[in-house]
């Protein structure tokens, strides 16, 4: 990997789903150590962007390219992108019946270990690892025996996403509205988790509607997305301006 190249570079990206073009010529450069907040009205393409980065099969890239660590990842399967270091915290984490959170987390962890030829952990070793991480998001170990996201409250689902992010320790984390639907306490816990995760060798893309998350997490850049494109880029000040004025003045 070329040290000077950004961790993620998106060039002229066009993405469609069911033949509707959602992303139109999107460009973005994310360097290590940067936090990019993406804001924008509903339907502007923020979630589509996150799914396209993760390689969701329903999202078709019709033009442009995505470079991660200097290489195009368009041809890579979702699990390969994950192994390379792309993590997506879902806006609506899905319930998986019959699979315990513990098994799921261990399998995810070991899949990555295997990919990098590192030793895989047996259930007991893993329990030590995961219990440490649980503390970081203020979750009880009891929650390991429950099925993945099944019967979780909105806040628990979001904390579970952050737990997985910390566990897999990916270089690029894309957080899709991880703050929506949270009360103030949960928001603080999650922000702390995110800040603990962040270091100069990692990057985060924060998709959010609200300025309040940015009170806890200091973004390097704030982008405004509209109709499948980034129409304005600024600093944390921009988010505050948006909070006061809405999006209309930009269009």
């Amino acid at each position: 990997m070329n040290l000077k190249s950004p961790l993620l570079e998106v060039k002229n990206l066009q993405v469609s789903i069911n033949e509707n073009q959602i992303l139109k010529n999107l460009n973005l450069k994310v360097n290590k150590g940067e936090i990019h907040a993406i804001m924008g009205p509903n339907g502007s393409g923020k979630s589509t962007f996150s799914k396209a980065l993760a390689g969701h099969p329903a999202y078709l890239v019709s033009n442009g390219d995505i470079f991660f660590k200097g290489f195009s990842i368009l041809q890579l399967e979702p699990e390969q992108r994950s192994h390379l270091g792309i993590f997506l915290a879902f806006q609506y984490p899905i319930e998986i019946p019959g699979v315990s959170n513990e098994d799921f987390l261990r399998l995810a962890y070991n899949s990555k270990q295997k990919f990098y030829n590192r030793p895989q952990l047996d259930p007991i070793e893993f329990l030590n690892v995961i219990c440490e991480k649980l503390k970081l998001v203020n979750m009880s170990p009891l929650f390991l025996s429950r099925n993945v996201n099944e019967g979780f409250s909105g806040g628990e689902k979001k904390r579970n996403e952050i737990l997985q992010m910390i566990l897999l320790d990916s270089e690029l984390a894309i957080l899709d509205e991880t703050d929506s639907g949270l009360d103030i306490d949960a928001l603080k816990i999650i922000s702390t988790g995110i800040n603990n995760f962040m270091n100069p060798s990692k990057s985060i893309i924060l998709i959010t509607h609200y300025q309040r998350l940015l009170d806890y997490i200091n973004p390097t850049y704030v982008h405004v997305m509209h109709d499948g494109m980034i129409i304005k880029t600024g600093t944390a000040e921009l988010a505050k301006e948006l909070e006061n004025k809405g999006y209309e003045w930009l269009q």
Partner: protein
């Protein structure tokens, strides 16, 4: 525009799908058959070929008369073309050159067939802890460990042999659990059954080996009508396993079996099936029509019967392993996984009839339906006036895969006394593209994801299976579902 959705999931799937039904081969062997069609003469001829005693011929003829007066049941949630009962071969047996003294004299072609199915009948390579009765089309071709079992008093042989050697037991128990006229298919089976297994565990004995019957349908036009009778005497215990496969033909074969279990005081029978008949192809052509009557009767106090089934095969499954709980404190159990894919249809479940005081039953049913298949659970819990303190727990879970499949549950609970405790739980869930993507995003491969979700869903049932079966069942389910997500 190519939808990438299909591309990604399908590449994973195609790799898997190429492993088709691995038991689809057929064996070329000289056969002794009775011409197609069914009438009184056919019934007499079957009885004559098997050199049966008079009482059995009468039993068959009574059944035939009954069958002619009955009509196919129509209440099940199944759709299939009319079966032409005159177009079926009712007796098809490998031609025996002479009377066999032991298994080593069995036609090598037949032994090879069973080897290929992973069932070794030859002395050296047999499974160490399972005695097997191998049934090929209409006849049993051999039973392993017969002598060893005989030494501890366990009778285990083909039902044809039992008719001759243990005719007293047969006269007493045959048709005692599933009467001739119980239903259309039981009447048919009673008239034309050709072979099956018989087993009797003596008093105070725990059967030292698991007993097993392996059914193989080979002939394209033959129906298989076998009959199994298991009797557990006072304070005895037996584990029974049933396996089955059939070649891949584009026509349908009829399989109408009866299993009767009798459990006396303090006796336990555990009956497990992994059913893997040919299901038909992905367009719904061919496959086995499986109409089976399985019933156990807990006659003695504190007796127990437990059914475990993993149903993955057959174009059509119509099957309700049931328990009649007569003895006080008797127990009935039903654990089932039924998986349907493509155009398969399954209507399966159980009946628990409580008569004895404090009788208990437990029903755990898991239905998995993929593609355009239909999967129904049908249950009947009947608590009679006498069954003071009876308890039942039922749980019916359905798992849908994709958007086109169909799952139904038809539970009926009928209680006639106020001391009964009944619990019923049901759930329905779905494996779709989004669940799979969640796994993939976390770096977990497609196959692993499906396997994990399935074995999670079926865990309670698989733990009931004997060890040899349970690993197999896990693999079987994953294999059967190839290509159904996406």
């Amino acid at each position: 525009m190519i939808n990438k959705s299909n591309k990604v999931l399908n590449t994973n799937i195609t790799n898997l799908v190429n492993k088709t039904y691995q038991y689809g081969f057929s064996t070329n062997i000289e056969k002794d058959i009775i011409e197609r069609g069914l009438n009184e003469e056919t019934v007499k001829l079957i009885s004559k070929k098997k050199r049966e005693p008079e009482f059995l011929l009468k039993f068959r003829l009574r059944a035939y008369k009954k069958w002619k007066q009955m009509s196919e049941p129509e209440w099940a949630y199944l759709k299939f073309p009319q079966i032409n009962y005159q177009d079926i071969i009712y007796y098809s047996a490998p031609k025996a050159q002479k009377k066999l003294k032991n298994l080593n004299e069995v036609d090598p072609e037949l032994l090879k067939t069973f080897e290929k199915l992973g069932i070794s009948l030859t002395e050296q390579k047999r499974l160490a802890n399972v005695a097997i009765d191998a049934v090929f089309d209409s006849v049993s071709i051999g039973t392993t460990f017969k002598k060893e079992l005989r030494e501890c008093g366990v009778l285990f042989c083909s039902i044809s042999e039992a008719v001759i050697n243990y005719s007293e037991s047969i006269q007493k128990y045959l048709g005692s659990v599933v009467p001739i006229g119980d239903n259309y298919f039981s009447a048919l089976n009673s008239a034309v059954f050709t072979d099956g297994s018989f087993c009797r565990i003596p008093k105070d004995t725990i059967c030292p080996l698991d007993l097993s019957t392996y059914f193989r349908i080979n002939d394209q036009n033959a129906g298989q009508f076998e009959r199994t009778l298991i009797i557990a005497e006072k304070n005895s215990k037996v584990n029974y396993l049933e396996g089955c496969t059939a070649p891949q033909y584009d026509t349908n074969q009829l399989h109408a079996a009866i299993v009767e279990l009798v459990s006396l005081e303090f006796a336990t029978i555990k009956y497990s099936t992994v059913q893997n008949w040919y299901t038909g192809d992905k367009f719904g052509n061919g496959g086995i029509y499986n109409f089976v009557t399985k019933r156990g009767i807990c006659v003695g106090a504190n007796s127990k019967i437990s059914w475990t089934q993993v149903e993955t095969g057959s174009a059509i499954t119509w099957k309700y392993p049931s328990c009649i709980l007569i003895g006080d404190n008797s127990q009935g159990e039903f654990y089932s996984v039924a998986l349907t894919n493509n155009y398969q249809q399954a209507d399966t479940g159980t009946k628990m009839t409580h008569i004895g005081k404090n009788s208990r039953s437990r029903i755990i049913s898991k239905g998995i339906s993929a593609k355009k298949s239909k999967n129904s659970y049908r249950g009947f819990v009947n608590v009679t006036k006498k069954a003071i303190g009876a308890k039942n727990y039922s749980q019916c879970d359905s798992l849908l895969i994709g958007n086109l499949s169909n799952a139904n549950t038809f539970p009926v609970i009928f209680v006639q006394n106020s001391t009964t405790k009944i619990e019923h739980e049901a759930s329905i869930s779905k494996i779709g593209e989004e669940q799979i993507f969640y796994f993939l995003q976390r770096g977990i491969y497609f196959e692993k994801a499906v396997e994990l979700m399935l074995s999670g869903f079926c865990r309670e049932i698989f733990t009931e299976l004997p060890l040899e079966f349970s690993a197999e069942a896990d693999k079987l389910l994953t294999l059967k579902l190839e290509g159904s997500v996406g």
